[in-house]
């Protein structure tokens, strides 16, 4: 193991902080040009949309004064956005995979391929699965979601999870679901089960149903796509999705609201609903989700025992200052989606706040975040939803700006190009 102690600068920070506080009472003018350079060691857990962005922006905005260690269990970043195009056969896994190399070589982020198994918030250390601990001044958890397998009991084992796929974390599951669709006979049924909101990527399941329908229409036109939605209606871009299904996939896509999954018959590829059973040839179950387990293990306050409660000015846990949480894992502000784009925006709020706090300044009192989400309804046809969220000092959380945001006027080809351009730019914004 490399020497991890060199990254523990907490004692140094304490000394420097005390000195600057003492000095400030003597000479305010000396501070007027700006606070001292932010220093310290930040450990980031999770190399997805939130974790990579905060790692890069901490380095960039602190003028490399803050040391950053990113712990990620996968060798490369694999994007969930655009992964439905892999499921549909329009893209390969390589097209949505980006190396962590740029974070290392360009930004000087220390990237450790490992998993954090425990957090000691009193000692400010994390334990790594492969052994050893890391000390931190501040911790950023961007752990994404874990699945609540107890709510789909038959899938609560690795063997079943290898047969009835979620493909809701991009990687091997994405490729495996593609394979199942390729192996499906013409005339087969692809059924997708959607959990009750909130879950990761609200429009994602409807996008998947659409592009799988596009693939089947072209290659296996006797097949069907059955959407089993636990929600009472399509929860994102409803009119645009329903119009696409009606215009493009009539007789192929069938939408069933209020279809909560209670369990699965794995061998029979059958979805068990409250009052019905639905047999499929390819059954794709997106299970209910909660924060990545590490946040719960760390003792952070959860809301509804699912999502982390945070302070929106700093993205810090409300019961554990010094631990910042990003992305899908947090209890969302009103109308705020769990999206990669939003996790990237959370990360920038956190990076700015951490740098301020590490140099003795208050966090920005008026953060703004925004979301853009493109969904493919066919290989070259896209619809978007956008929103802007401004911090409301009275409500102590970001609120959607009235009159801003909205959806595409109609599905269109131009936004199919823009969506792929969005991916290139956000991946670069995170990783290079």
């Amino acid at each position: 193991m490399p020497n991890l102690n060199q990254f523990n600068r907490r004692d140094f920070i304490k000394a420097a902080g005390a000195a600057s506080v003492a000095g400030s009472t003597l000479g305010l003018t000396a501070c007027a040009g700006g606070a001292s350079k932010a220093r310290g060691h930040v450990v980031v857990v999770g190399g997805g949309y939130g974790g990579t962005t905060v790692a890069k922006y901490l380095r960039m905005w602190s003028d490399r004064g803050i040391d950053v260690t990113l712990v990620e269990r996968n060798a490369n970043f694999v994007s969930c956005p655009i992964s439905n195009l892999v499921v549909a056969g329009y893209k390969g896994l390589d097209d949505i995979t980006v190396s962590y190399e740029g974070l290392k070589t360009h930004w000087g982020v220390r990237v450790i391929k490992d998993e954090v198994t425990a957090v000691d918030t009193a000692k400010r250390t994390v334990t790594l699965a492969q052994g050893g601990t890391l000390s931190y001044d501040r911790l950023v958890l961007s752990p994404g979601v874990d699945f609540q397998w107890d709510q789909v009991p038959a899938l609560n084992n690795a063997d079943a999870q290898g047969k009835i796929l979620h493909a809701w974390k991009a990687g091997p599951q994405t490729v495996a679901l593609r394979k199942q669709l390729e192996d499906m006979k013409d005339g087969g049924v692809f059924a997708i089960s959607i959990p009750k909101a909130p879950y990761r990527c609200p429009p994602g399941p409807y996008e998947r149903a659409s592009v799988v329908a596009a693939y089947l229409k072209a290659k296996k036109p006797k097949s069907k796509v059955l959407i089993l939605d636990a929600n009472e209606e399509v929860i994102s871009k409803k009119a645009l999705f329903m119009k696409a299904w009606d215009d493009l996939y009539k007789g192929i896509v069938e939408y069933r609201p209020n279809s909560q999954l209670t369990d699965v018959d794995v061998a029979g590829k059958t979805a068990l609903l409250e009052f019905d059973k639905v047999k499929a040839d390819v059954l794709n179950v997106i299970p209910p989700q909660r924060t990545g387990e590490i946040a719960a293990k760390a003792g952070l306050k959860l809301i509804n025992n699912r999502w982390v409660d945070i302070n929106w000015l700093t993205m810090e846990s409300t019961n554990t200052p010094g631990v910042h949480v990003l992305g899908d894992a947090i209890f969302p502000a009103p109308t705020m989606p769990k999206s990669g784009h939003m996790a990237n925006q959370h990360a920038k709020v956190a990076a700015a706040a951490i740098i301020n706090l590490q140099s003795g300044q208050e966090p920005n009192p008026e953060p703004v975040v925004m979301n853009t989400c493109y969904s493919f309804v066919a290989e070259k046809s896209v619809i978007h939803v956008a929103s802007v969220h401004r911090y409301d000092a009275e409500k102590k959380q970001p609120m959607p700006v009235a009159g801003a945001g909205g959806v595409s006027a109609a599905r269109n080809e131009l936004e199919a190009k823009i969506a792929l351009g969005w991916a290139k730019n956000i991946w670069a914004d995170m990783l290079t």
């Binding site: 925006q345 300044q361 920005n364 008026e366 969220h389 801003a404 131009l414």
Partner: protein, 107 residues
């Protein structure tokens, strides 16, 4: 150890100094423009440097007045757009000005 009360006291002193200088009662974060501009980076690249060939506009180095005019045209609906008419409405005129300042200063 930097106690939060000390931190707050420091911030108040700094805020008072700033208010004296600018006449504003609200303590602005000195990096507000940078932070706001970063909300654009997902599509337009870090510091406005969009990936070449991505088809999205690079904003770095755009003259302030030109960019602000464009943003205002999106906001008022004068200039047609796929999405920017919806996004620009989420920012105040002052915020758009800070964003234009920031990108104009990027190389």
């Amino acid at each position: 150890m930097i106690r939060s009360s000390h931190r707050r006291a420091l911030a108040l002193i700094a805020a008072a100094a700033l208010a004296g200088a600018s006449g504003s009662a609200l303590a602005k974060d000195p990096n507000l423009g940078r932070n706001l501009a970063a909300t654009c980076a997902n599509c337009h690249g870090t510091n406005g440097q969009a990936v070449p060939g991505s088809g999205l506009d690079a904003l770095a180095g755009t003259p302030r007045d030109k960019l602000l005019q464009k943003l205002n045209d999106f906001k008022t609906g004068v200039k047609p757009a796929t999405i920017m008419h919806q996004i620009s409405k989420g920012y105040t005129d002052e915020q758009l000005g800070l964003i234009a300042d920031y990108f104009a200063a990027q190389k």
